[in-house]
Protein backbone atom coordinates (compact mmCIF):
# COMPACT_ATOMS: atom_id res chain seq x y z
CA UNK A 1 0.00 0.00 0.00
CA UNK A 2 1.15 3.50 -0.74
CA UNK A 3 0.10 6.98 0.41
CA UNK A 4 0.12 9.37 -2.51
CA UNK A 5 0.36 13.04 -1.54
CA UNK A 6 -0.05 15.69 -4.21
CA UNK A 7 0.36 19.46 -3.78
CA UNK A 8 -1.63 21.10 -6.55
CA UNK A 9 -3.01 24.49 -7.59
CA UNK A 10 -6.37 25.05 -5.85
CA UNK A 11 -8.41 25.57 -8.99
CA UNK A 12 -7.27 22.16 -10.28
CA UNK A 13 -8.90 20.25 -7.45
CA UNK A 14 -12.08 19.38 -9.33
CA UNK A 15 -10.13 18.07 -12.31
CA UNK A 16 -7.94 15.89 -10.11
CA UNK A 17 -10.93 14.59 -8.17
CA UNK A 18 -12.71 13.58 -11.38
CA UNK A 19 -9.59 11.96 -12.82
CA UNK A 20 -9.11 9.87 -9.66
CA UNK A 21 -12.79 8.83 -9.62
CA UNK A 22 -12.48 7.64 -13.20
CA UNK A 23 -9.70 5.21 -12.34
CA UNK A 24 -11.52 3.88 -9.33
CA UNK A 25 -9.95 5.71 -6.40
CA UNK A 26 -12.86 5.89 -3.98
CA UNK A 27 -11.72 8.28 -1.31
CA UNK A 28 -9.33 11.17 -0.90
CA UNK A 29 -8.48 13.70 1.82
CA UNK A 30 -8.09 17.33 0.89
CA UNK A 31 -6.34 20.03 2.94
CA UNK A 32 -5.82 23.70 2.19
CA UNK A 33 -2.15 24.54 2.58
CA UNK A 34 0.33 27.32 1.84
CA UNK A 35 3.68 26.98 0.23
CA UNK A 36 6.13 27.97 -2.42
CA UNK A 37 8.69 26.41 -4.65
CA UNK A 38 9.86 28.19 -7.71
CA UNK A 39 6.65 30.14 -8.19
CA UNK A 40 7.09 33.75 -7.13
CA UNK A 41 4.70 35.30 -4.63
CA UNK A 42 2.87 38.56 -5.24
CA UNK A 43 2.79 42.02 -3.71
CA UNK A 44 -0.08 43.52 -1.80
CA UNK A 45 -0.45 47.16 -1.03
CA UNK A 46 -2.26 48.69 1.97
CA UNK A 47 -2.12 52.47 2.34
CA UNK A 48 1.39 52.79 1.07
CA UNK A 49 2.70 49.73 2.89
CA UNK A 50 3.81 47.15 0.36
CA UNK A 51 3.95 43.52 1.44
CA UNK A 52 5.52 40.69 -0.52
CA UNK A 53 3.47 37.57 0.05
CA UNK A 54 5.74 34.54 -0.45
CA UNK A 55 3.31 31.85 0.55
CA UNK A 56 0.82 30.86 -2.10
CA UNK A 57 -2.39 28.99 -1.41
CA UNK A 58 -2.24 25.36 -2.55
CA UNK A 59 -4.32 22.23 -2.03
CA UNK A 60 -2.94 18.96 -0.71
CA UNK A 61 -4.66 15.79 -1.96
CA UNK A 62 -3.93 12.52 -0.19
CA UNK A 63 -5.02 9.11 -1.36
CA UNK A 64 -4.18 5.69 0.12
CA UNK A 65 -3.88 3.29 -2.80
CA UNK A 66 -2.67 -0.23 -3.46
CA UNK A 67 0.61 -0.69 -5.27
CA UNK A 68 -0.94 -2.20 -8.38
CA UNK A 69 -2.78 1.05 -9.24
CA UNK A 70 0.04 3.38 -8.16
CA UNK A 71 1.29 4.18 -11.67
CA UNK A 72 -2.23 4.97 -12.90
CA UNK A 73 -2.86 7.22 -9.92
CA UNK A 74 0.34 9.15 -10.50
CA UNK A 75 -0.49 9.55 -14.16
CA UNK A 76 -4.07 10.62 -13.46
CA UNK A 77 -2.96 13.31 -11.01
CA UNK A 78 -0.10 14.49 -13.18
CA UNK A 79 -2.28 14.95 -16.22
CA UNK A 80 -5.27 16.55 -14.50
CA UNK A 81 -3.25 18.97 -12.33
CA UNK A 82 -0.96 20.11 -15.11
CA UNK A 83 -1.17 23.65 -16.50
CA UNK A 84 2.32 23.86 -17.93
CA UNK A 85 3.18 26.90 -15.78
CA UNK A 86 5.50 27.13 -12.81
CA UNK A 87 3.71 26.25 -9.57
CA UNK A 88 1.78 23.17 -10.79
CA UNK A 89 3.04 21.28 -7.74
CA UNK A 90 4.54 17.94 -6.81
CA UNK A 91 3.51 14.39 -6.03
CA UNK A 92 5.09 12.46 -3.15
CA UNK A 93 4.74 8.74 -2.62
CA UNK A 94 5.10 7.27 0.88
CA UNK A 95 5.12 3.64 1.93
CA UNK A 96 1.93 2.90 3.88
CA UNK A 97 2.34 0.44 6.80
CA UNK A 98 -1.23 -0.29 7.73
CA UNK A 99 -4.78 0.76 6.92
CA UNK A 100 -7.83 0.08 9.15
CA UNK A 101 -11.47 0.77 8.39
CA UNK A 102 -12.85 2.12 11.64
CA UNK A 103 -16.45 1.00 11.21
CA UNK A 104 -15.77 -2.64 10.46
CA UNK A 105 -12.24 -3.22 11.64
CA UNK A 106 -11.09 -4.46 8.20
CA UNK A 107 -7.38 -4.10 7.59
CA UNK A 108 -4.95 -4.01 4.72
CA UNK A 109 -6.09 -3.82 1.12
CA UNK A 110 -9.72 -4.44 2.14
CA UNK A 111 -9.66 -1.19 4.02
CA UNK A 112 -8.47 0.92 1.10
Amino acid sequence: MKMVTAIIKPFKLDDVREALSEIGVQGITVTEVKGFGRQKGHTELYRGAEYIVDFLPKVKVEAAVSEDVLEQVIEAISKSANTGKIGDGKIFVYGLEQTIRIRTGETGKNAL
Binding site: E44, L45, Y46, R47, G48, A49, E50, Y51, V53
Partner: protein, 435 residues
Amino acid sequence: MTIQKSQWAMKSLLITVISVLPSMAFAEELSSGDTAWMLTATALVLFMTIPGLSLFYAGMVRSKNVLSVLMQCFAITSLMTVLWVLYLYSLAFTDGGAMNAFIGGLDKVFLTGVGVDSLSGTIPETVFMTFQMTFVIITPALIVGAFAERMKFSAMLIFMTLWATLVYAPVCHWVWGGGWLGDYGVLDFAGGTVVHINAGVAGLVAALMLGKRKGYPNVAMPPHNLTLTVVGASMLWVGWFGFNAGSELAADGVAGMAMAVTQIATATAALAWMFCEWASHGKPSVLGIASGAVGGLVAITPASGSVGPMGALAIGAAAGIGCFFAATKLKYVLDYDDSLDVFGVHAIGGIIGAILTGVFAATSLGGAGFGEGNSTMGSQVIAQLIGVASTIAFTMVMSFIILKVIDVIIGLRVNEEQEAKGLDIALHEERGYII
Protein backbone atom coordinates in the same frame (compact mmCIF):
# COMPACT_ATOMS: atom_id res chain seq x y z
CA MET B 1 -67.47 92.76 -4.97
CA THR B 2 -70.47 90.54 -4.36
CA ILE B 3 -70.98 89.28 -0.80
CA GLN B 4 -69.99 85.73 -1.83
CA LYS B 5 -66.74 86.86 -3.43
CA SER B 6 -65.77 88.98 -0.44
CA GLN B 7 -66.55 86.08 1.92
CA TRP B 8 -64.35 83.88 -0.20
CA ALA B 9 -61.60 86.48 -0.09
CA MET B 10 -61.81 86.69 3.70
CA LYS B 11 -61.64 82.90 4.02
CA SER B 12 -58.58 82.74 1.77
CA LEU B 13 -56.87 85.49 3.68
CA LEU B 14 -57.58 83.79 6.99
CA ILE B 15 -56.31 80.43 5.74
CA THR B 16 -53.16 82.04 4.38
CA VAL B 17 -52.44 83.85 7.63
CA ILE B 18 -53.04 80.73 9.72
CA SER B 19 -50.79 78.59 7.56
CA VAL B 20 -47.99 81.13 7.75
CA LEU B 21 -48.25 81.52 11.52
CA PRO B 22 -46.05 78.55 12.55
CA SER B 23 -43.09 79.83 10.58
CA MET B 24 -43.33 83.33 12.03
CA ALA B 25 -40.80 83.49 14.83
CA PHE B 26 -42.24 84.83 18.02
CA ALA B 27 -40.01 83.61 20.84
CA GLU B 28 -38.00 80.40 20.22
CA GLU B 29 -40.65 77.72 20.10
CA LEU B 30 -40.48 74.02 19.68
CA SER B 31 -40.36 73.16 16.02
CA SER B 32 -41.49 69.63 15.40
CA GLY B 33 -39.74 69.66 12.02
CA ASP B 34 -36.42 70.64 13.55
CA THR B 35 -36.92 68.19 16.39
CA ALA B 36 -37.77 65.30 14.10
CA TRP B 37 -34.67 65.90 12.07
CA MET B 38 -32.43 66.27 15.13
CA LEU B 39 -33.74 63.05 16.67
CA THR B 40 -32.82 61.36 13.40
CA ALA B 41 -29.45 63.09 13.15
CA THR B 42 -28.59 61.94 16.67
CA ALA B 43 -29.27 58.35 15.71
CA LEU B 44 -27.19 58.75 12.55
CA VAL B 45 -24.18 60.08 14.43
CA LEU B 46 -24.35 57.32 17.04
CA PHE B 47 -24.51 54.88 14.13
CA MET B 48 -21.22 56.39 12.91
CA THR B 49 -19.45 55.03 15.99
CA ILE B 50 -21.39 51.85 16.55
CA PRO B 51 -20.89 50.21 14.24
CA GLY B 52 -19.51 52.49 11.50
CA LEU B 53 -16.15 53.47 12.91
CA SER B 54 -15.89 50.22 14.84
CA LEU B 55 -16.10 48.14 11.67
CA PHE B 56 -13.90 50.53 9.70
CA TYR B 57 -11.14 50.02 12.25
CA ALA B 58 -11.86 46.38 13.05
CA GLY B 59 -11.31 45.29 9.48
CA MET B 60 -7.93 46.99 9.35
CA VAL B 61 -6.30 45.25 12.30
CA ARG B 62 -5.06 41.69 12.45
CA SER B 63 -7.68 39.06 13.19
CA LYS B 64 -6.27 38.35 16.64
CA ASN B 65 -7.17 41.93 17.63
CA VAL B 66 -10.53 42.36 15.93
CA LEU B 67 -12.57 42.13 19.13
CA SER B 68 -10.31 44.48 21.05
CA VAL B 69 -11.12 47.29 18.63
CA LEU B 70 -14.85 46.60 18.76
CA MET B 71 -14.65 46.40 22.54
CA GLN B 72 -12.83 49.71 22.82
CA CYS B 73 -15.37 51.53 20.64
CA PHE B 74 -18.35 49.99 22.39
CA ALA B 75 -16.91 50.67 25.83
CA ILE B 76 -16.08 54.27 24.93
CA THR B 77 -19.64 54.74 23.69
CA SER B 78 -21.00 53.59 27.01
CA LEU B 79 -18.46 55.41 29.15
CA MET B 80 -18.78 58.74 27.38
CA THR B 81 -22.57 58.56 27.65
CA VAL B 82 -22.40 58.33 31.41
CA LEU B 83 -19.68 60.97 31.81
CA TRP B 84 -21.53 63.36 29.49
CA VAL B 85 -24.69 63.32 31.54
CA LEU B 86 -22.82 63.39 34.85
CA TYR B 87 -20.73 66.48 34.18
CA LEU B 88 -19.18 66.81 30.71
CA TYR B 89 -22.29 68.39 29.15
CA SER B 90 -22.26 71.01 31.84
CA LEU B 91 -18.56 71.75 31.40
CA ALA B 92 -18.95 72.08 27.65
CA PHE B 93 -22.17 74.00 27.28
CA THR B 94 -22.93 76.12 30.32
CA ASP B 95 -21.63 79.49 31.34
CA GLY B 96 -18.42 79.19 33.29
CA GLY B 97 -18.63 82.61 34.87
CA ALA B 98 -15.17 84.11 35.20
CA MET B 99 -13.66 81.12 33.43
CA ASN B 100 -16.16 81.12 30.59
CA ALA B 101 -13.63 81.90 27.91
CA PHE B 102 -11.95 78.63 28.75
CA ILE B 103 -14.51 76.26 30.26
CA GLY B 104 -18.16 76.06 31.26
CA GLY B 105 -19.59 75.66 34.73
CA LEU B 106 -21.31 73.09 36.90
CA ASP B 107 -24.88 74.38 36.51
CA LYS B 108 -26.05 71.33 34.64
CA VAL B 109 -24.17 68.51 36.30
CA PHE B 110 -26.39 65.44 36.56
CA LEU B 111 -28.39 67.25 33.86
CA THR B 112 -30.02 69.44 36.48
CA GLY B 113 -32.65 71.59 34.86
CA VAL B 114 -32.77 69.57 31.67
CA GLY B 115 -36.33 68.34 31.71
CA VAL B 116 -38.94 67.13 29.28
CA ASP B 117 -39.95 70.68 28.35
CA SER B 118 -36.53 72.35 28.37
CA LEU B 119 -35.73 73.95 25.06
CA SER B 120 -32.49 74.63 23.30
CA GLY B 121 -33.36 76.87 20.41
CA THR B 122 -36.23 75.21 18.57
CA ILE B 123 -35.53 71.71 19.77
CA PRO B 124 -35.82 70.05 23.18
CA GLU B 125 -32.65 70.42 25.20
CA THR B 126 -32.64 66.66 25.71
CA VAL B 127 -32.22 66.25 21.98
CA PHE B 128 -29.45 68.85 21.81
CA MET B 129 -27.72 67.19 24.75
CA THR B 130 -27.93 63.71 23.24
CA PHE B 131 -26.86 64.95 19.83
CA GLN B 132 -23.77 66.54 21.34
CA MET B 133 -23.22 63.35 23.32
CA THR B 134 -22.74 61.45 20.09
CA PHE B 135 -19.85 63.81 19.33
CA VAL B 136 -18.11 63.22 22.65
CA ILE B 137 -18.54 59.53 21.89
CA ILE B 138 -16.96 59.49 18.46
CA THR B 139 -14.03 61.79 19.20
CA PRO B 140 -12.26 59.48 21.69
CA ALA B 141 -13.27 56.48 19.60
CA LEU B 142 -11.31 57.95 16.70
CA ILE B 143 -8.14 57.91 18.78
CA VAL B 144 -8.43 54.12 19.14
CA GLY B 145 -6.99 53.76 15.67
CA ALA B 146 -3.66 55.24 16.67
CA PHE B 147 -2.90 52.86 19.52
CA ALA B 148 -4.66 49.80 18.14
CA GLU B 149 -3.27 46.35 18.86
CA ARG B 150 -1.12 47.33 21.83
CA MET B 151 -2.90 49.38 24.47
CA LYS B 152 -4.09 48.12 27.83
CA PHE B 153 -7.86 48.22 28.12
CA SER B 154 -7.80 49.60 31.67
CA ALA B 155 -5.32 52.32 30.73
CA MET B 156 -7.48 53.18 27.72
CA LEU B 157 -10.59 53.68 29.87
CA ILE B 158 -8.74 55.95 32.26
CA PHE B 159 -7.13 57.87 29.41
CA MET B 160 -10.45 58.45 27.70
CA THR B 161 -12.08 59.63 30.92
CA LEU B 162 -9.35 62.16 31.60
CA TRP B 163 -9.07 63.20 27.97
CA ALA B 164 -12.77 63.85 27.57
CA THR B 165 -12.71 65.92 30.76
CA LEU B 166 -9.50 67.87 30.28
CA VAL B 167 -9.31 68.16 26.49
CA TYR B 168 -12.61 67.54 24.71
CA ALA B 169 -14.85 69.53 27.06
CA PRO B 170 -12.64 72.64 27.00
CA VAL B 171 -12.10 72.64 23.22
CA CYS B 172 -15.81 72.00 22.65
CA HIS B 173 -16.58 74.90 24.94
CA TRP B 174 -14.09 77.17 23.15
CA VAL B 175 -15.75 76.65 19.78
CA TRP B 176 -19.42 75.93 20.50
CA GLY B 177 -20.06 76.55 24.17
CA GLY B 178 -19.41 80.27 24.39
CA GLY B 179 -15.66 80.18 24.77
CA TRP B 180 -12.92 82.26 23.25
CA LEU B 181 -12.62 80.76 19.78
CA GLY B 182 -16.22 81.62 19.09
CA ASP B 183 -15.29 85.25 19.72
CA TYR B 184 -12.76 85.16 16.88
CA GLY B 185 -15.44 84.15 14.45
CA VAL B 186 -13.78 80.77 13.87
CA LEU B 187 -15.94 78.78 11.49
CA ASP B 188 -16.18 75.19 12.66
CA PHE B 189 -19.63 73.99 11.77
CA ALA B 190 -19.56 70.36 12.82
CA GLY B 191 -16.25 69.79 14.54
CA GLY B 192 -13.18 70.00 12.34
CA THR B 193 -11.16 71.25 15.29
CA VAL B 194 -13.26 69.93 18.17
CA VAL B 195 -13.43 66.40 16.83
CA HIS B 196 -10.95 65.68 14.10
CA ILE B 197 -7.85 67.75 14.70
CA ASN B 198 -8.33 67.09 18.41
CA ALA B 199 -8.49 63.31 18.01
CA GLY B 200 -5.90 63.23 15.26
CA VAL B 201 -3.23 65.03 17.24
CA ALA B 202 -4.03 63.08 20.40
CA GLY B 203 -3.67 59.97 18.28
CA LEU B 204 -0.24 60.99 17.11
CA VAL B 205 0.89 61.66 20.66
CA ALA B 206 -0.49 58.29 21.76
CA ALA B 207 1.19 56.49 18.87
CA LEU B 208 4.52 58.08 19.72
CA MET B 209 4.21 57.42 23.44
CA LEU B 210 3.07 53.83 23.14
CA GLY B 211 5.69 53.06 20.56
CA LYS B 212 5.52 50.91 17.50
CA ARG B 213 3.86 47.56 17.38
CA LYS B 214 6.33 44.71 17.74
CA GLY B 215 7.72 43.86 14.34
CA TYR B 216 6.55 47.09 12.70
CA PRO B 217 7.39 47.94 9.93
CA ASN B 218 9.17 44.78 8.82
CA VAL B 219 6.55 42.20 9.70
CA ALA B 220 3.56 42.22 7.39
CA MET B 221 0.41 43.36 9.19
CA PRO B 222 -2.15 43.65 6.44
CA PRO B 223 -5.81 44.38 7.22
CA HIS B 224 -7.47 41.07 8.04
CA ASN B 225 -10.90 41.87 6.64
CA LEU B 226 -11.30 44.77 4.26
CA THR B 227 -14.93 43.87 3.66
CA LEU B 228 -15.62 45.03 7.23
CA THR B 229 -13.62 48.18 6.59
CA VAL B 230 -15.62 49.11 3.50
CA VAL B 231 -18.89 48.40 5.27
CA GLY B 232 -17.72 50.61 8.13
CA ALA B 233 -16.61 53.40 5.79
CA SER B 234 -19.99 53.30 4.05
CA MET B 235 -21.78 53.59 7.38
CA LEU B 236 -19.57 56.54 8.25
CA TRP B 237 -20.47 58.24 4.96
CA VAL B 238 -24.21 57.85 5.46
CA GLY B 239 -24.08 58.64 9.16
CA TRP B 240 -22.07 61.79 8.50
CA PHE B 241 -25.19 63.44 7.10
CA GLY B 242 -26.34 63.50 10.70
CA PHE B 243 -22.97 64.84 11.80
CA ASN B 244 -22.83 67.75 9.36
CA ALA B 245 -26.41 68.51 8.38
CA GLY B 246 -27.45 67.90 11.99
CA SER B 247 -25.03 70.53 13.22
CA GLU B 248 -27.44 73.16 11.91
CA LEU B 249 -29.75 72.05 14.73
CA ALA B 250 -32.65 72.72 12.40
CA ALA B 251 -34.31 71.33 9.33
CA ASP B 252 -33.69 74.13 6.87
CA GLY B 253 -31.73 75.31 3.84
CA VAL B 254 -28.42 75.39 5.66
CA ALA B 255 -28.88 71.76 6.66
CA GLY B 256 -29.77 70.95 3.08
CA MET B 257 -26.63 72.59 1.78
CA ALA B 258 -24.58 70.90 4.50
CA MET B 259 -25.83 67.53 3.32
CA ALA B 260 -25.11 68.37 -0.30
CA VAL B 261 -21.58 69.63 0.29
CA THR B 262 -20.85 66.63 2.49
CA GLN B 263 -21.74 64.29 -0.33
CA ILE B 264 -19.77 66.27 -2.90
CA ALA B 265 -16.58 66.61 -0.88
CA THR B 266 -16.59 62.96 0.15
CA ALA B 267 -17.05 61.62 -3.34
CA THR B 268 -14.38 63.95 -4.73
CA ALA B 269 -11.91 62.99 -2.03
CA ALA B 270 -12.55 59.28 -2.61
CA LEU B 271 -11.78 59.69 -6.30
CA ALA B 272 -8.77 61.89 -5.61
CA TRP B 273 -7.15 59.31 -3.31
CA MET B 274 -8.02 56.55 -5.74
CA PHE B 275 -6.40 58.32 -8.69
CA CYS B 276 -3.36 59.34 -6.65
CA GLU B 277 -2.83 55.75 -5.65
CA TRP B 278 -3.41 54.51 -9.16
CA ALA B 279 -0.77 56.90 -10.45
CA SER B 280 1.64 56.35 -7.61
CA HIS B 281 1.42 52.61 -7.08
CA GLY B 282 -0.10 51.35 -10.28
CA LYS B 283 -3.41 50.08 -8.97
CA PRO B 284 -6.48 51.65 -7.35
CA SER B 285 -7.36 49.94 -4.07
CA VAL B 286 -10.51 49.59 -2.05
CA LEU B 287 -8.74 50.60 1.16
CA GLY B 288 -7.58 53.69 -0.69
CA ILE B 289 -10.95 54.75 -2.00
CA ALA B 290 -12.56 54.16 1.40
CA SER B 291 -9.82 56.11 3.17
CA GLY B 292 -10.17 58.92 0.66
CA ALA B 293 -13.88 59.12 1.37
CA VAL B 294 -13.24 59.37 5.11
CA GLY B 295 -10.64 62.09 4.50
CA GLY B 296 -13.20 64.04 2.52
CA LEU B 297 -15.79 63.63 5.26
CA VAL B 298 -13.32 64.97 7.79
CA ALA B 299 -12.30 67.96 5.70
CA ILE B 300 -15.84 69.07 4.87
CA THR B 301 -16.85 68.87 8.53
CA PRO B 302 -15.79 72.38 9.57
CA ALA B 303 -16.85 73.78 6.19
CA SER B 304 -20.29 72.23 5.88
CA GLY B 305 -22.19 75.27 7.11
CA SER B 306 -20.26 77.81 5.11
CA VAL B 307 -19.28 76.58 1.69
CA GLY B 308 -21.11 75.90 -1.53
CA PRO B 309 -20.97 72.94 -3.90
CA MET B 310 -17.91 74.03 -5.86
CA GLY B 311 -16.09 74.90 -2.66
CA ALA B 312 -16.89 71.38 -1.49
CA LEU B 313 -15.41 69.98 -4.68
CA ALA B 314 -12.18 71.84 -4.06
CA ILE B 315 -12.04 70.86 -0.40
CA GLY B 316 -12.67 67.22 -1.27
CA ALA B 317 -9.92 67.18 -3.87
CA ALA B 318 -7.44 68.82 -1.51
CA ALA B 319 -8.31 66.42 1.28
CA GLY B 320 -8.10 63.34 -0.91
CA ILE B 321 -4.65 64.30 -2.13
CA GLY B 322 -3.39 65.66 1.19
CA CYS B 323 -4.55 62.71 3.28
CA PHE B 324 -3.18 60.31 0.68
CA PHE B 325 0.28 61.75 1.09
CA ALA B 326 0.02 61.97 4.86
CA ALA B 327 -1.09 58.37 5.29
CA THR B 328 1.06 56.70 2.66
CA LYS B 329 4.22 58.78 2.63
CA LEU B 330 4.55 61.12 5.61
CA LYS B 331 4.00 58.33 8.11
CA TYR B 332 6.94 56.37 6.73
CA VAL B 333 9.19 59.38 6.33
CA LEU B 334 8.63 60.42 9.95
CA ASP B 335 8.66 56.79 11.06
CA TYR B 336 5.80 56.53 13.54
CA ASP B 337 3.29 53.71 13.95
CA ASP B 338 -0.10 55.41 13.76
CA SER B 339 -1.69 52.05 13.13
CA LEU B 340 -4.86 53.19 11.41
CA ASP B 341 -3.76 56.64 10.25
CA VAL B 342 -5.72 58.70 12.73
CA PHE B 343 -3.28 61.58 12.33
CA GLY B 344 -2.93 61.22 8.59
CA VAL B 345 -6.65 61.25 7.93
CA HIS B 346 -8.28 63.10 10.82
CA ALA B 347 -5.67 65.65 11.82
CA ILE B 348 -4.40 66.42 8.32
CA GLY B 349 -7.89 66.25 6.82
CA GLY B 350 -9.20 68.44 9.60
CA ILE B 351 -6.44 71.01 9.15
CA ILE B 352 -6.95 71.15 5.39
CA GLY B 353 -10.68 71.52 5.86
CA ALA B 354 -10.41 74.10 8.60
CA ILE B 355 -8.12 76.36 6.60
CA LEU B 356 -10.02 75.99 3.33
CA THR B 357 -13.23 76.82 5.18
CA GLY B 358 -11.77 80.28 5.57
CA VAL B 359 -11.27 80.48 1.82
CA PHE B 360 -14.45 78.97 0.46
CA ALA B 361 -16.78 80.67 2.91
CA ALA B 362 -16.37 83.71 0.69
CA THR B 363 -19.63 84.56 -1.03
CA SER B 364 -17.67 85.19 -4.21
CA LEU B 365 -16.73 81.51 -4.13
CA GLY B 366 -20.24 80.30 -3.45
CA GLY B 367 -20.01 80.36 0.30
CA ALA B 368 -22.33 81.66 2.97
CA GLY B 369 -20.06 84.44 4.13
CA PHE B 370 -17.40 84.84 6.79
CA GLY B 371 -17.71 84.47 10.55
CA GLU B 372 -18.50 87.23 12.98
CA GLY B 373 -15.95 89.99 13.01
CA ASN B 374 -14.24 88.87 9.81
CA SER B 375 -14.85 90.83 6.68
CA THR B 376 -12.08 89.51 4.48
CA MET B 377 -10.83 86.07 3.46
CA GLY B 378 -7.50 86.95 4.97
CA SER B 379 -8.89 87.66 8.41
CA GLN B 380 -11.11 84.57 8.27
CA VAL B 381 -8.19 82.34 7.34
CA ILE B 382 -6.20 83.82 10.20
CA ALA B 383 -9.11 83.06 12.54
CA GLN B 384 -9.13 79.51 11.23
CA LEU B 385 -5.39 79.22 11.78
CA ILE B 386 -5.79 80.45 15.34
CA GLY B 387 -8.40 77.78 15.93
CA VAL B 388 -6.24 75.08 14.39
CA ALA B 389 -3.03 76.08 16.14
CA SER B 390 -4.57 76.49 19.57
CA THR B 391 -6.31 73.13 19.34
CA ILE B 392 -3.14 71.38 18.21
CA ALA B 393 -1.03 72.94 20.93
CA PHE B 394 -3.54 72.32 23.71
CA THR B 395 -4.31 68.74 22.71
CA MET B 396 -0.70 67.85 22.19
CA VAL B 397 0.41 69.08 25.59
CA MET B 398 -2.58 67.78 27.54
CA SER B 399 -2.63 64.38 25.85
CA PHE B 400 1.06 63.96 26.55
CA ILE B 401 0.62 64.82 30.23
CA ILE B 402 -2.36 62.51 30.69
CA LEU B 403 -0.65 59.61 28.96
CA LYS B 404 2.56 60.15 30.89
CA VAL B 405 0.76 60.08 34.22
CA ILE B 406 -1.13 56.90 33.35
CA ASP B 407 2.01 55.29 32.04
CA VAL B 408 3.85 55.98 35.28
CA ILE B 409 1.04 54.67 37.46
CA ILE B 410 -0.25 51.60 35.64
CA GLY B 411 1.52 51.44 32.29
CA LEU B 412 -0.03 52.07 28.90
CA ARG B 413 1.07 49.12 26.85
CA VAL B 414 0.44 45.41 27.07
CA ASN B 415 3.48 43.18 27.50
CA GLU B 416 5.18 41.40 24.64
CA GLU B 417 3.51 38.09 25.25
CA GLN B 418 0.05 39.62 25.29
CA GLU B 419 0.80 41.56 22.14
CA ALA B 420 1.97 38.43 20.35
CA LYS B 421 -1.01 36.35 21.49
CA GLY B 422 -3.38 39.06 20.43
CA LEU B 423 -5.47 41.32 22.63
CA ASP B 424 -8.67 39.35 22.04
CA ILE B 425 -7.32 36.33 23.89
CA ALA B 426 -4.92 38.16 26.19
CA LEU B 427 -7.23 40.91 27.43
CA HIS B 428 -10.72 39.59 26.78
CA GLU B 429 -10.30 35.80 26.61
CA GLU B 430 -12.39 35.67 23.49
CA ARG B 431 -11.80 34.89 19.85
CA GLY B 432 -13.34 36.92 17.08
CA TYR B 433 -13.63 34.01 14.67
CA ILE B 434 -14.23 30.44 15.68
CA ILE B 435 -14.32 28.88 12.25
